[in-house]
Amino acid sequence: MIRRLVRYLDQRSGTAPLLRRALRYVFPDHWSFLLGEIALYCFVILVATGIYLTLFFDPSTAKTVYHGSYAPLHGVTVSQAYRSAVDLSFHTKAGLLMRQTHHWAADVFLVAIVLHLMRVFFTGAFRKPRDLVWYVGVAMLMLAILEGFLGYSIVDDLLSGMGLAIAYSVVMSLPVVGANIALLLWGSPFPGTSGFESRMYIAHVFVFPVLLVILITVHILSIAARHHTQFPGRGKTEGHVVGTPTFPGYVPRTLGLAFGVAAVLFLLGGLVQINPIWQWGPFETAQATNGAQPDWYLGWLIGGLRLMPGFDVSVGQYTLVPNPFWGGALFPLVVFAFLFAWPTIESRVTGDTDFHNLLDRPRDAPWRTAVGAAVFSWVAIVFFAGASDRVFVWLKISYSGQIWFFRGAAFVAPVVVFLFVRELCEELREGPQGSQGRVRIVEK
């Protein structure tokens, strides 16, 4: 049977040699190499559950009066988008499961991407010949954050609207052309024309997913073209890769991971409530709720907006750069610029333009590890500042006191972390498990 199928395919496409090579492609083994795969499988679940949701969701801002099964909303004027999202949660069987799984998958997707990015950074996997893979990956992180934001914005609940109001003011704050861009995107001053909902919707269900699919394909193909990196070890050299072949060894492993990811996401989607939009209510410009938190991957931006001292750059009576620009636009731009520029910075500073197939252990590149940890701690401080209102509610620590603390920490922590991590790396290298203690074969 298999042989006949292969013959059929080969006679019509000549792909048998390619397939055979693919089946014997070598995957080096390390748990941290699975983070990217987790992100990939989350994406698959996102597409599958997302398609299901589009069959019921109605992306329209037309007003309607709610008379569904959720009594507290009876008689409330809501948009079709909001009503259909509530209805697909309460009336459509398995709808709530799919919606919550979709939302959880988005959150886990970004966790996996960020951890994967850190793994690649701290092991130096981004170096030539894989810097292109790195750029594509960082671009996908940006897309994924925007895609997630669009996803919970199209529902038109109160949190959606608050997030969009903030996004609008960040776009407005862009120097010189901010107001023009905002009017282009929204079609009119906030909350925008009815066309704005359609624009978000097509971007969320088509444009961004297609872009992500293209970039994922480029990402994977360009890894396969240069093969995976590996940690140094017995037989693992710059010239030879050691690991498990796709078939028969790796396929059940990766399928196990795929089904495991699906299991976790559907269990979360079924058992752990997320984004109960019927409790938030529909968005109105004049409404906002206290203690609102965005999905976790936007926490660093809300933190950036909160930490900025209150000033607009102004000349006389005219505003030039409004405040949201710093925390909402410049801060993420700086972080992403750092990520995009790092492979170049590192090869310039170290003068290392060689090909690298062997990974560094983080301790073996103290300078890179320390810089990475410093930048990460900087972003983490701002991220935590985004949750300071919750900390106030839980622990009764003064909100303004926290803001001043985080403002200071954003400057101090990166320096301290840099010095500490560099020292830690040096200490580890001298310890019994240091680089001298390991077999490391370098091939000329």
Partner: protein, 324 residues
């Protein structure tokens, strides 16, 4: 020397793992029979089947009510978990365990690079006016690009930023509540908090919603130019934060005067805090300019109406907006 050592290691490594006993023509090493593990895998797949099969009745039985979602998730999640476990048994116990050594692809193919360069160079050999053609090509490309981008201008009236300043508030416009009813001044008490809109206008426009509070007249510290703006101590401000456009949904009203902080209007998004007694001055937080104030009057029927328009543009700022 190291090369040979590696070659030796690689051979030794690969040999030991792959070709110990099996005949030469095998591609994959023979896996020893693992009958108990086959049973385990079969059992796991069977459990997955049961779990997944339960999905259908759970879906069909409506009387499950509020726990239907949880049971659906449990059944699907467990089914996936059992399949995942079966895959792991396959991977670790049932398929041949092999470690393969393979050379990395050559870092580059210099010869091909040169040939490619030559290919392009030789193809253009016959051209005598390269610069002219480059300019012509660039011009055509730029013009075509501009033409193709032009329809994007239909997305919004992006030149006319003056409309961002528009509000429905002008002298004589009555304040109404959520239901469209006028607001008598006596409905506004010290310590309470009211949202109001311009009568007959779109409630959702950024320039519409107001927050209305009453302060004791002796507590007011309005700028001199706004002396008559607060009849009976009632002040009205734009409800949209000048920082990031959220609604000013919190009012910090003093509960016990000797120890309480002064009254403040607070935005719950980034906690910009404004002083209603002092003309909406920023007390704390990231807002860069004061909250626009609306002058009020009380008409003959005792209802509140606007005595003019806002003291500044409501909502978030943009490049070049005049804020006073």
């Amino acid at each position: 020397m190291i090369d040979r050592l590696i070659a030796f290691l690689v051979l030794l490594f690969a040999r030991g793992k792959r070709r110990r006993t099996e005949p030469l023509d095998r591609l994959v090493p023979e896996a020893p029979a693992q009958r108990p593990w086959e049973l385990v895998a079969a059992a796991l797949l069977f459990l997955a089947m049961l779990s997944a099969a339960a999905f259908v009745p759970i879906y069909a039985i409506d009387s499950l009510g509020h726990i239907q979602t949880q049971l659906l998730g449990l059944s699907l999640g467990l089914a996936f978990a059992f399949v995942a476990a079966a895959c792991v048994v396959f991977a670790k116990r049932l398929v041949p365990q092999e470690t393969v050594v393979e050379p990395y692809p050559a870092p580059e193919t210099e010869h091909e690079q040169e040939r490619l360069g030559e290919l392009v160079a030789e193809s253009g050999d016959g051209l005598t006016r390269k610069r002219l053609l480059k300019f012509a090509g660039a011009g055509a490309g730029a013009a075509l690009g501009a033409a193709l981008l032009t329809p994007a201008a239909s997305l919004g009236p992006f030149i006319d930023v003056a409309q961002l300043r528009k509000t429905a508030w002008r002298r004589g416009v009555r304040l109404v509540d959520d239901f469209g009813d006028p607001i008598p001044a006596k409905r506004v008490h010290v310590g309470s908090f009211l949202t109001a809109y311009p009568e007959g206008a779109d409630h959702d426009a950024l320039g519409s919603p107001l927050v209305v509070v009453r302060l004791r007249i002796q507590d007011l510290q309005l700028p001199e130019a706004r002396a008559g703006w607060a009849p009976g101590g009632i002040v009205a401000y734009s409800k949209i934060c000048t920082h990031a456009g959220c609604a000013i949904a919190l009012y910090r009203a003093p509960l016990f005067e000797p120890t309480s902080s002064r009254p403040a209007l607070v935005c719950p998004c980034h906690y910009s805090t404004f002083d209603p007694a002092a003309g909406g001055k920023v007390l704390f937080g990231p807002a860069g300019r004061n909250l626009p104030q609306l002058p009020l009057e009380i008409d003959g029927e005792g209802n509140l109406h606007a005595a003019g328009t806002f003291s500044g543009p409501p909502g978030p700022s943009w490049w070049g907006v005049r804020f006073r």
